[in-house]
Amino acid sequence: MEIYEADVAIIGAGGAGLRAAIAVAETDPALRIALISKVYPMRSHTVAAEGGSAAVTRPDDKLDYHFNDTVDGGDWLCEQDVVEYFVAQCPEEMVQLEHWGCPWSRKPDGHVNVRAFGGMKVERTWFAADKTGFHMLHTLFQTSIKYPSIRRFDEHFCVDLVTADGRVQGVAVIEIRTGQFTLIKSKAVIIATGGAGRVFRENTNGGIVTGDGMALAYRHGVALRDMEFMQYHPTCMPGTGLLFTEACRGEGGFLLNKDGYRYLQDYGLGPAEDKPRNKYMELGPRDRLSQAFWYEQKKGRTLDGPHGTYIQLDMRHLGEARLRERLPQIYEMAEIFMGIDPAKQPIPVRPAVHYTMGGILVDGHCATPLPGLYAVGECSSVGIHGANRLGSNSLAELCVFGKVAGGEAARFAKSVPAGETKVLLKQASATQQRTEQLVNRSDGSERIATLRTEMAQSMEDGCGIYRLADSMQATCDKLGELRQRFKNVNIEDKSSVWNSNWLSAIELGYQLEVAQAMVHSAISRKESRGAHQRLDGFEARDDANYLKHSLAYYNGDAAPRIAYGPVKITKSQPGVRAYGAAGEKAEHDRKAAGH
């Protein structure tokens, strides 16, 4: 097997991975960086993010406001010291991206423009038309080319970490186009592999978002934290699940039920006004909006379509000119995929799974409990999103913590010696054998697509917007069954060159384990908080018993072991999450009480 020696290996070349790579290169140009990705970097799912990236910018905005919006939005499950750090770094990181060429949308005077976003008190979302993730990713990728110390391993699929002396010392990868294995020895490893939304049936995610890195860390004993919190984005295309950005609502779009009524005012988000108002109505947080949809559906006030029920995103009043200028991509999507002109017709939308709030347990420095192993981006749980993420905090997270992870990994790599190749090679060879066995066997009986579809349907049933103990249990049982059946998975393609059948099977293995962590964490949390809402006697938030993070530990073939860890509270005591007029009153009361 080929062996490559690096100082820092980064798995995943999306926004977080690229930012981390640049940070390592800037920390010390002598460090050898291996940037590994199963797709070419510009295909990473960061590219699909649309709305924007948050940073306190306006003179009437304060870091405290961003902090409070985030902690409230997270239903107090955030690590508040980490959030404080985060909000303070966002502005600098956005300026850094701008210096690197990111084409932020501008005000007439040439300064960067900011827009309103869900759950944010003051406009602070930097945006690049409605393709912010695309522009950020391309800016980071193209900028990374400046640094000769970054060696990319494009289309290399990571199958395992290698460890020795109680620390991570490298990764084993498959070069997709040859099917051959390489051991990348490395003194520090950063996982930046993104979320796991593909375990659900309807989702906004690309095909590659399969929780790979989460599974790798998990299998090596690192806990997956807060996995029960999956974000349903309220406005997605029925059927495909493709995303219609929150910015549609930031620009003033309305959500209407089948009576043409702006129903969100019935759910504590009102009163309804003509112009968008921060934290009111359509600019409420995503979990609340998705939950409102669920109730409207139950009341029979949603419309019926070929891909299920839906409500309407009405942007006709914005006019074609403004729509084409501010939301060109979604305009095109509506036209081409749905045959709808948003200036003349409302767009059918429904919630779909969008973001994984939880992930690999890391501290505020992106370090996992396993020395030498770091995690950053959607795959990690650094503590800023809590039980529900605010839109535009995720793109900012990639930059702020990408820089942190890179810096920390670089420091660690310089402080430890290189590992013994013989020992690591033995592990990598065992991994190779195990992984090749998957494809070489001839007695497989289960179709990959069948297992995957059953998993995705079960996750939708058991871990939907509202959850019940018996359907969660059914999903727990189903996933246990699927993991057993997976042992008999059949891989038709026996070739070596670009065998995507083989890789899909490995990805399915990752997904089943991550899904299991999600549902077991969900059933164990006997309360409702943020994106985890129950209708089986646990409808209320229970701070006394559950102001804690869930921690899912890998348990081999058996179901994961769920434990709990404390939440760091500093400035913001758990309060009522209120939006709309109720929110203004709550804030007023809080100020009066001296908080």
């Binding site: 590219v47 040439g110 995929f337």
Partner: protein, 251 residues
């Protein structure tokens, strides 16, 4: 679920280097519904008919650039091309033209990546600007100058469209020249002179004979033909100004 009474025949060009001497067409009957894309058709084949079919895809919304292919002889994104536009006929799917086929619908894109890296696709600042000084000021009209060229998703449909690239793979090509142009036009950048040798070179802009098919197929309306042809004038200007202004200066 797709209506099984409605099906469409998909003819896919297969190529498995370890067993096929050369590419061969294989036909699949795929059930289809009104809103199904070619990509969804291929996914159906892979999921239920033939797991050995390999192709690149990810976002499903024409922004990642993975799924470029020849669909009925034209370069297109599979996720944005719909089966309903071919029914009741057949649809033929092949790997993107003018690139070597690695496997089935997967092409070798090393050349494209190498070229992307060669053009200094990053801001070359006039002088370093501390972060504390905040953002560069850039008016909406300054931004408008380069925005369309910054929208390239690297799908390479333009390379499949360009016969000059097909005939001479050393040609820098439409998409990469568009990216080069994007940086030259950005008010924050001053690297035009550093990028000029690539524009002027034997494999630069003068390989273009204004076929214009690249801009026709571009799914993001980048208009790479414009980037290439405008740089012919830039190149000529650069060549002649050479006799008037001193060169070098350690840049």
């Amino acid at each position: 679920m797709p209506n099984t009474e409605n099906t469409i025949m998909m003819d896919v060009l297969r190529y498995r280097p370890e067993q096929d001497a050369k590419p061969v067409l294989q036909t699949y009957r795929v059930p289809f519904s009104e809103d199904m894309s070619v990509l969804q058709g291929l996914q159906y084949i892979k999921d239920f008919l033939d797991g050995t079919l390999s192709f690149r895809w990810s976002c499903r919304m024409a922004i990642c650039g993975s799924c470029g292919m020849m669909i009925d002889g034209k370069p297109a994104l599979a996720c944005k091309t719909f089966l309903r536009d071919f029914v009741p006929g057949r649809v033929r799917v092949e790997a993107l033209a003018h690139f070597p086929i690695e496997r089935d619908l997967v092409i070798v894109m090393d050349d494209f990546i190498g070229k992307l890296e060669s053009i200094k696709p990053y801001i070359i600042e006039k002088q370093p600007r501390p972060l504390t000084q905040g953002e560069y000021l850039q008016t909406p009209s300054e931004r408008d100058l380069y925005e369309q060229f910054s929208s390239c998703i690297n799908c390479m449909l333009c390379y499949a469209a360009c016969p000059q690239y097909g005939l001479n793979p050393k040609f820098l090509g439409p998409g990469i020249i568009a990216l080069l142009h994007r940086y030259n036009l950005d008010s924050r950048d001053c690297g035009e002179e550093q990028r000029m040798p690539l524009v002027n070179s034997e494999d630069g802009v003068f390989n273009c004979t204004a076929v214009g098919y690249c801009s026709e197929v571009c799914p993001k309306l980048v208009d790479p033909a414009n980037a290439v042809n405008v740089n012919k004038a830039n190149s000529a200007k650069d060549y002649f100004l050479r006799f008037v202004t001193p060169r070098g200066g350690g840049k």
